[in-house]
Subunit: 389 residues, 2 copies
């Protein structure tokens, strides 16, 4: 079902944050130069570029980002395209790159996720981001914090999830980010700080929400055969790459305490790879809001329904405390930052680095198997990748 | 190099034109319903949807079109993504769909090209379209008619191409469109009418330019194995699908009387398919301006450099007169219309119908081999498909 498969032979994240001094082209150059250098690869070996990006057209007027970055990065004549699916754009670009390698049409492909968000007026960014939702939601003024607040309320009612448990997601992810030199927020926080932060959309408070971020991430994918020629850098195999969708708006879903698309995509990813949730050592999941990480843990089968919140609060997914899967070692969207088109690629870079022993202070010992979980909108798109050393 | 290949088992174009009365969702429903019906296929057999579209985010605020159309079309849990590369978005979506089938990950994929352009203020549409170009071009106010006018002037100087020869492209394509009930402009025109039409960007006049258009096009792709189960509709094989890029702006190209990306993509497509230009019976090429069709004929190897204009004027690519390749039987972008994200898919639908004997009044007798040529911006992206009955 997955063709010949694909190998990640290099993966780099830029610093995430408010990068006003850097243009998109310089940001892309920086990560691509480093990724190629580590792989010992020349630019003209890249045959195709998949760019995950959401907002450039709406905010800056620049579309056509495939050709744009192929030119900027000095990849003459390379095939190139942009892939968009809101905050899942990066994961979808990785999926497209994986299929491109699996098809045999290309044997070296670059997947670039990139977004510049902090250069624009916050109202314009909020409006552009609502392009991910349904028109009924836009008309109602229901922004994403409001939509995830509805999911949080439903989860609290059904499973007794508490605001403190949600806060503990942010505490863990800020702790992990404190060990990540590329993270946007490296300050450690307490449950009390989250609880006392301003309410954005009750029960979600400021410190339950991921930020607006600039950043770029790149992975270089290779066919198994071609990868043998690039032995300088560690190799990680993508065992499965799956995508599923659901209704765009929350109002038309049967259930809002779970993201059905993530359940579908992850079940298929486990099936294709022969990996079970219990085999996964590290996972990067889409914690755009703290409640989203709790739901992700349950959707991905790491914990039974209703058990994830207390498990997270007791440290079961935290670096140094966990005996099972360690979640969002990068700091997640919450603390490492969420440049929307980059996020899905950044997750793969973090897992690549973990499985390669390159994760520095935040290294999970003996990590062999990893998973990424990238979501678009309030769950209309979900992308799951399973990776193995 | 092309994995297992892919079969088009159904292909439908909507009426192209000013479709103010129809929403994007209704337009998509219309073509998808018809395409599925002709293939004798149920909606839940579609495993993945690739949407080619450029302007929705900028003009209507709706992004995330993969999940949007998967929901609207009743394709629960299908994988879905939007692919964007300016006016080549449709061709790129077809390329992505082709690779998805070739990878073995999916065996039934839908490629939907769609654009609504006439509901918005012309200035807003013109501004959004400039997202395809370079920022230097935007700053200079160089819109696409101006850029193609520069290419026309250069071609006139280098090869002696005349304005009348350019006009003859429009005359031919309007003649073809007069036979196409789905075309935007079905009126036959004369060279005199083109020559007397208002100048847009000298030497290009109004009737040298393709219009702003609403429209949707869909193809259903199947693996070779799976296609055997769908014998109701004619089958056409995609022999090769190729993409190449060049610099975004005209100013940084070595040559502007040719589109280098189209030369690269078509050479590779011929090589992969074992087809030569002389084997091609029907071609849909990207005539966003009349000069673009002349250049395309030369880039694709149908005529030597400098010979295409006089060949077109003498009817060598016209239905009923040609003894070689017949070009733009749909009416092309010029007369059938140019809903940007739909165009690349529409070209494949027209060739599918030609090779299947379904082209009605505009049928090319004994057409066995076809080609599509879809361009983004002023040539930064080119996508070529070669198809065979």
């Amino acid at each position: 079902m997955n063709g010949t498969g694909a190998i990640i032979i290099s993966g780099i994240n830029s610093k995430f944050g408010e990068l006003w001094q850097v243009s998109p082209r310089d940001l892309a150059q920086e990560v691509v130069r480093e990724a190629l250098m580590r792989a010992g690869m020349k630019r003209d070996e890249i045959q195709a570029v998949y760019v995950g990006s959401m907002l450039s057209g709406s905010l800056s007027g620049q579309d056509h980002l495939g050709a744009f970055f192929a030119e900027e990065l000095g990849l003459p004549k390379a095939a190139a395209m942009r892939v968009e699916g809101a905050c899942a754009s990066g994961g979808l670009a990785l999926h497209a790159g994986f299929l491109a390698i699996s098809s045999g049409a290309y044997d070296t492909v670059m997947v670039l996720g990139i977004e510049k968000m902090t250069d624009y007026k916050p109202d314009d960014v909020a409006r552009a981001l609502m392009g991910a939702g349904s028109d009924m939601e836009r008309e109602a003024g229901a922004t994403f914090p409001a939509l995830y607040a509805l999911m949080a309320r439903a989860h609290m009612e059904k499973y007794g999830t508490t605001e403190e448990e949600m806060a503990s997601v942010a505490v863990k992810n800020h702790y992990h980010a404190s060990l990540n030199s590329h993270a946007q927020f490296r300050n450690r926080i307490t449950i009390e700080q989250v609880m006392k932060s301003p309410v954005v959309a009750s029960p979600l408070k400021l410190l339950d929400c991921s930020p607006i971020t600039d950043g770029a991430s790149v992975v270089i994918l290779s066919s198994k055969k071609r990868a043998k020629k690039h032995s300088r850098s560690p190799h990680v195999e993508i065992l499965s790459s799956t995508v599923a969708t659901d209704t765009l708006g929350l109002g038309t879903r049967e259930e809002i305490t779970s993201i059905g698309a993530a359940v579908s995509a992850s079940r298929k990813a486990y099936e294709l790879s022969g990996i079970s949730p219990g085999d996964v050592d590290v996972a990067e999941v889409h914690d755009c809001f703290t409640i989203a990480e709790i739901i992700a843990m349950e959707d991905l089968g790491f914990f039974p329904r209703g058990d994830a919140a207390s498990a997270i609060m007791s440290g079961k997914t935290m670096l140094g405390k966990s005996r099972g899967v360690v979640v969002n070692t990068s700091g997640g969207l919450k603390a490492a930052g969420h440049p929307v088109g980059a996020t899905g690629v950044k997750q793969a870079v973090e897992v690549y680095q973990q499985l390669s022993g390159l994760a520095g202070n935040k290294q999970v010992k003996n990590a062999r198997t990893g998973l990424t979980h990238n979501v678009g909108g309030s769950g209309a798109t979900a992308v799951v990748h399973i990776l193995k050393k």
